[in-house]
Symmetry: C2
Subunit: 154 residues, 2 copies
């Protein structure tokens, strides 16, 4: 076990491990989405949220995906251009617009969602049932901790 005072070994260092793992996973996925559907990860995230629940505004999306509003704006613009997303004016506030997948967008979503889940399953085959639960719980805790720290570091 590592204790305070121990040396810093890069591949035992949590932030580094997270980054390396996340990058490898994301890159593999990005390649697949890009090749098969001409879709970047931010675009896919927007679709993933709207596929389940249409009618959100850009800032609700930013909230749900944890991406910043610029990334959302770009993803929405590109998805609109490719005919996969459509915006409706919201009554009452001319700034906000409710976003929906078009039928074409929905069709893409319904193709990708199972693939995404299958990919995740593949990753997860390495883990037993109880390990999967443990992982989810650990990620929850780290999420909370990192939020708290992030605020401090800023």
């Amino acid at each position: 076990m590592r204790r305070a005072g121990d040396a810093l070994v890069l591949d035992r260092f949590l932030p580094y491990r997270l980054s390396a793992l996340s990058n490898r996973v994301s890159r593999a996925i990005a390649r697949a989405y890009e090749a098969a559907f001409d879709l970047s990860i931010p675009e896919w995230r927007v679709m993933a949220v709207l596929g389940r629940e249409g009618g959100l505004t850009a800032s609700a999306l930013a909230d749900a995906t944890q991406m910043d509003k610029v990334a959302i704006s770009r993803a929405v613009a590109r998805l609109t251009r490719s005919g996969r997303l459509k915006a409706r004016a919201e009554a009452g506030d001319a700034r906000r617009r409710a976003l929906f997948l078009t039928p074409r967008g929905l069709a893409v979503y319904e193709q990708i969602a199972p693939l995404a889940l299958a990919y995740e399953q593949q990753l997860m085959t390495a883990l037993s049932q109880s390990e999967r639960h443990a992982l989810a719980a650990l990620l929850d805790k780290l999420d909370h901790a990192s939020r708290a720290l992030g605020d401090i570091a800023r």
Copy 2:
């Protein structure tokens, strides 16, 4: 528990969770290193490796840090400019150069390493001893799985 056929909910989706967590952690760290030491994360990784074991070549560094050779080249160039790293020609092969931290570089390393470990400890306070072990083991398994999958997806 989620089963095949279940809906894809972004914030239960492992690749997304990893990415969100890793980004938050990395950003917090990057901010700190940048502000205090004028050091990017790739540069810091290079220092972290060389601080423990000097004399590696650029490709050995690429291996150790999992960054690609372009990133290494840039980090090394910048660290050299700032007087924190020095290269020695290697006898026998004129292409390779052995890389070392300068005394100044080493001094920086010795300042940062404890900070980095402390940050990690802070994150880890959220976890019990046994949870930390469990996390390390899970990350190992996911690492392996992701390597295998990455090759397939490519």
